[in-house]
Subunit: 139 residues, 2 copies
């Protein structure tokens, strides 16, 4: 078992995804239909291959992502969010809101309009989408 710095729930959360990369991978799966190593590797931030491999392994071990064989290509793996991963959505959206308020941003305009007008509806949509993506691949 992992020895944590403290039992504070914030500390637990931060030990899991409190690094620059982890939540960016989750963002890509959650909102941008990315699913495999190559997809994440191409993201604007330019994650290094060793860091990407390490973070994916960690997120799978923490049961935030599930690693599955691609149905289209049996030699390829794809990643899906678990329930625990989908539950990170409010945090990710709060980051979008705070980051947009205090810095210019590059999020799709339609997404931002939707988020401002109907956050609950947007969350429901992406939550359902993630659940279906996982269910379609789990035997």
């Amino acid at each position: 078992m992992v020895k944590r710095k403290s039992e504070c729930p914030i500390n637990y959360s931060l030990e899991i995804f409190g690094d620059n990369w982890t939540l960016l991978i989750i963002r890509d799966i959650m909102f941008f239909d990315k699913s495999c190593y190559g997809d994440f590797y191409q993201s604007a931030e330019g994650i290094a291959t060793n860091i990407l491999a390490d973070r994916l392994r960690f997120l799978v071990s923490e049961k935030i992502l599930k690693k599955l064989v691609s149905p289209k290509n049996k030699s390829k793996f794809i990643y899906r969010l678990t329930k625990k991963g989908i539950d990170l959505m409010p945090i990710v959206l709060d980051l979008v809101e705070w980051g947009t308020k205090y810095n210019r941003d590059s999020f799709p305009k339609e997404f931002m309009t939707w988020l401002r007008k109907d956050k609950e509806g947007l969350m429901k949509h992406y939550r359902e989408k993630a659940k279906i993506s996982l269910a379609n691949l789990t035997p």
Copy 2:
């Protein structure tokens, strides 16, 4: 100006507090009435002095904290949340909720009961408290 990895609002947010320590300092100021170097240093997670000094400097430079001379002791500095810092409250509370759901926790019971029953009320209370703490010290 800081060169960012991308203009994604999530990336911006994570470049600012996407490390294990930054949001723990903010937690301490936001909810546990801590205000000075010695207070943060004593937190359960055991932050190293050089990391603490570095993170405080960074949070001040990003205008998330304001560094002020203590009115009680002119040779001592205290830190207060700015508006930009107070706006991190939804993120911090989402971390509490997610961390509590997936791990045992050590947050005060009364706080957790309040959060579950009336999140808006709790946020209003701590937001006001932070504003007053800052206003009391700003000439």
